[in-house]
């Protein structure tokens, strides 16, 4: 059924995936051109990039690690986009959730791993959800654009976490580094051995989240209402949906997913909270959601791609001394090209060409 195909984002033969692939390839090429023009040695850089992403089991594990937080946050951004809202607040939501997570883990040092992790996830959902709902409320009732409010909340969330890191949560025996203690053992998400590969369990959780999001958007009444809101604001109101509530729910869901991403990153990868906990996951997640066309399946694939890109870029910096910020440039070019690809003008051009072709084929009734 086409809705299944659509929901899983595996529209391999459809036009959208062709466009996205073309944009990605073009974006990467332009980034490489930029590197070459500014004197980087492509002969060293490209192999380093590739080996860092998929070269061996370690690289592959790193790619998966990098893709986990952006998959979670990307799913959140995707829910927002389907409802017509922009959640730029991933950064703040990650920090707030991770902060809440490590704090709760210290207050309630549970011994049983399954319970501990479950508690952590719940905390992440609530903390991130509240942070997202705040922006949602401001949009629904105060008419405050969520792009601006989420960005401001990012700053506030980060500062909150930073204060705690430098203050009450600081690791006394940390050798003077400003970071928190490691999160307790039972709370950590293990890395699993899957055949020749090592896979972070957080990755499996992220896949579960993707499935849940897919079910939520496609198979529940609220999902239909959210998608109607994003498609046609008037039709949603007309169909009896309570729009302000929907807005808050959508932003809360987006925040909750980002929050889970934050705690999973905490317990499954970094194990501590520090000022550099999120190197821009919130923003990369936006690119992920856009490339994935706000569909669960697309987000999964886009997250893997950008995760690989990030892993490869840091290896590129280590080995070939090409700054890793190149990946940011690549992201920006890809997103900019996507905006053009989905722009009104291009859409009209395509429609006009189609009509012309149809007219040339014979009279259209």
């Amino acid at each position: 059924m086409s809705s299944k195909r659509d929901a899983l984002g595996l529209v391999l033969l459809g036009r959208e995936s062709f466009v996205v692939s073309a944009v990605i390839i073009l974006g990467l090429l332009l980034s490489l051109v930029m590197l070459a023009v500014t004197g980087a040695d492509l002969g060293e850089a490209i192999p380093a990039l590739l080996s860092g992403a998929v070269g061996d089991a370690r690289a592959f594990e790193e790619t998966l690690h990098q893709s986990v937080p952006i998959m979670f946050v990307g799913l959140g951004v995707a829910i927002g986009l389907r409802a017509g809202l922009f959640n730029i607040g991933g950064e703040g939501q990650i920090y707030v959730a991770a902060l809440a997570g490590i704090t709760v883990s210290q207050w309630l040092p549970i011994d049983v791993p399954v319970l501990a992790v479950a508690l952590l996830l719940v905390v992440g959902i609530i903390a991130g959800g509240v942070w997202g709902a705040a922006a949602g409320w401001m949009r629904a009732y105060m008419d405050m654009n969520e792009v601006i409010t989420t960005i401001l909340l990012n700053g506030i969330g980060f500062l909150l976490a930073s204060w705690a890191i430098h203050g009450p949560l600081r690791d006394r025996e940390g050798g003077g580094f400003p970071w928190s203690e490691k999160i307790g053992e039972p709370f950590r998400l293990p890395v699993l051995d899957v055949g020749p590969l090592t896979m972070p369990s957080g990755f499996l959780l992220a896949l579960c989240a993707a499935i849940i999001v897919w079910i939520f958007l496609d198979k529940t009444v609220i999902g239909v209402e959210l998608r109607t809101l994003g498609d046609n604001h008037d039709a949603a109101a007309y169909a009896g949906a309570r729009v302000p509530l929907l807005v808050i729910v959508a932003m809360a869901c987006a925040g909750a997913l980002a929050g889970v991403g934050g705690v999973v990153e905490l317990s499954g990868n970094q194990e501590r909270l520090s000022d550099f906990f999120s190197p821009g996951y919130g923003f990369t997640a936006i690119a992920v959601a856009l490339v994935g066309n706000a569909r669960a399946g697309g987000v999964v694939m886009a997250a893997l791609f950008f995760g690989a890109l990030t892993a490869g870029a840091s290896s590129m910096e280590r080995i070939a001394q090409v700054p890793a910020s190149t990946s940011l440039v690549a992201q920006a070019i890809i997103v900019a090209l996507l905006v053009v690809a989905r722009s009104e003008r291009l859409g009209r051009w395509v429609r006009a060409r189609r009509q012309l072709a149809a007219a040339l084929d014979g009279q259209v009734a």
């Binding site: 198979k219 529940t220 239909v224 039709a235 007309y238 009896g240 259209v364």
Partner: protein
């Protein structure tokens, strides 16, 4: 076809000859023509959809014709942009003003007049005073356009058009939103204008104005020019005949209506609309009847339907469904079906598949929800049946509704709204933009509702439709019900007169 004699040199200011314009499958203009002499006020008469606006868009350079010629002062010209039209000396005053609401009057005038870098409020205010002295009216140059009444805005648009070096003034339905006093002032201004040797094209559907003001009149119908005559040598009846044309297709076989209980009662409704104010309007719809509201666009029908559907607030009055009073704020009564005017804005979520659209807002009512989860299989099956019943041509319930043709989209909306056998149907221009087959289908559906003892409130700008299915016809003009008629011989004339502002019959005033 109108006369196609070669104009005597020097007498014609403007001649549009044999203009054709197609939009995909629709022919908007089929060989239309128009000749304007110097120093005349020339009426352009026709129903909605007759082609008047398209012809004027050609004249104003907004639309390029497929073929035909435009002659200005005996020279053939091409008008490819509004700037070109303006440089020739053509000034347009559109029906819906093209002013920027957030700016002041003087700023709006400055936008269209002059070319200096600095703009001086005082200079323009002086210019404005000159114009108002010559043509009348009192306008505060510093007032924001959004604070002006519709009539005042029209006046500002007119003054703006007159501010340049204009030889031909084109007014599109200028009086549909004016009070009688404003209208008289406008006529005085136009006569003044004519006396100076300049010309006016006056587009209208109001017959009394044609006779009160104009020298000659051209009637358009179906994209063609039907006739051009001197006003002095024709009658209202003849003009109506030319406008409406062929006899109405009344092969809707219906039993005479038996009115039952009242389903909808509107009492003393007053609404402040953007374009039209409704004042103390009453109407009733009962079981077993189709009530048709006839009238020209812009007389309050849209606002009325929006209030009834709960999308707009009324200043005063009540809307009562069955025996529930909703004041003017009605929620979604399950047994009221709404077929909105603009199916894109209010009806369908174009990106969503048909099966979801067809149940929009009604999942719970139809028992398709369990614990928050959609019964997708059930909804899907139900939608198949519904789409089939309403003849929606599509590739399946999964097709995104945006891909369907206009007619099929409208049928999908019908499927959604009518499948639950609603008691009352409120439909606003449901056949707009549809081909004959689809339009006929829609009308059949409405009649079917009435036949199974439901009630229908049906608003249309197309007189033929109203005449085809209405049991009672209300004519709406200037925000009021101007009269109530029953279908029969001569009813067309009466409707035309009522629409044009004459007042006869019930609910006069």
């Amino acid at each position: 076809m109108g006369p196609t004699h070669k104009p005597a040199p020097g007498s014609h200011l403007l001649a549009l000859a044999d203009i054709w314009k197609r939009y995909d499958a629709t022919v908007a203009l089929s060989g239309a023509s128009l000749e304007i002499e110097r120093g005349e006020i020339h009426a352009l008469l026709g129903e909605n959809g007759a082609g008047k606006t398209t012809l004027m868009n050609v004249l104003d350079g907004i639309t390029r014709p497929d073929s035909g010629t435009i002659t200005w002062s005996d020279t053939e010209v091409e008008i490819d942009s509004p700037k070109r039209a303006a440089s020739l000396g053509i000034g347009m005053v559109h029906q819906h003003d093209r002013l920027v609401p957030a700016l002041a009057v003087w700023e709006n005038i400055a936008l269209a007049v002059g070319s200096s870098f600095r703009i001086s409020r005082n200079e323009i205010a002086e210019h404005l005073t000159e114009l108002t002295e010559r043509y009348g009216g009192v306008i505060d140059p510093d007032a924001l356009v959004s604070d002006l009444s519709v009539g005042e805005r029209q006046w500002v648009s007119l003054l703006r058009a007159l501010a340049g070096d204009v030889k031909l003034l084109v007014l599109d339905e200028p009086t549909s939103t004016l009070t009688p006093i404003e209208r008289d002032r406008l006529f005085a201004a136009l006569r003044h204008y004519r006396a100076a040797g300049l010309s006016v094209i006056f587009i209208t559907h109001k017959l009394d104005e044609v006779f009160a003001l104009c020298d000659r009149v051209t009637v358009m119908r179906g994209g063609e020019t039907v006739s051009t005559v001197d006003v002095a040598s024709t009658t209202q009846a003849q003009l109506v005949q030319s406008m409406v044309g062929r006899p109405v297709d009344t092969d809707f076989d219906r039993a005479p209506s038996e009115r039952g209980e009242i389903l909808l009662q509107v009492d003393s409704l007053s609404v402040q609309g953007a374009r039209q104010t409704i004042v103390e309007l009453d109407l009733e719809v009962s079981r077993g009847e189709v009530v048709g509201i006839a009238g020209v666009d812009g007389n309050g029908q849209g606002e009325l339907i929006e209030v009834i559907c709960g999308v707009r607030e009324a200043a005063e009055g009540t809307v009562i469904f069955g025996d529930e009073t909703h004041g003017w704020h009605h929620g979604r009564a399950a047994s009221v079906a709404r077929i909105p005017e603009d199916r894109h804005r209010h009806g369908l979520a174009l990106g969503l598949p048909l099966w979801e659209n067809v149940h929009l807002g009604r999942f719970r009512n139809r028992g398709l929800v369990r614990n928050g989860f959609l019964n997708r299989r059930g909804a899907h099956e139900a939608s198949e049946a519904m789409l089939e019943a309403f003849d929606v041509r599509c590739s399946g319930p999964d097709q995104p509704s945006g891909e369907l043709s206009g007619g099929n989209q409208q049928k999908a909306v019908l499927a959604r709204e009518l499948s639950d056998d609603p008691d009352l149907v409120v439909a606003m221009n449901p056949c707009r933009g549809l081909d004959i087959g689809a339009a006929r289908f829609v009308l059949d559906q409405l009649v079917a509702v009435r036949d199974r003892n439901g009630g229908v409130l049906f608003v249309s700008y197309d007189l033929d439709e109203i005449l085809a299915i209405s049991d009672r016809i209300l004519v709406m003009a200037s925000g009021r019900i101007a009269g109530e008629l029953k279908p029969g011989p001569d009813v067309i004339e009466q409707i035309g007169l009522l629409m044009g502002g004459a007042e006869i019959g019930v609910n006069a005033q």
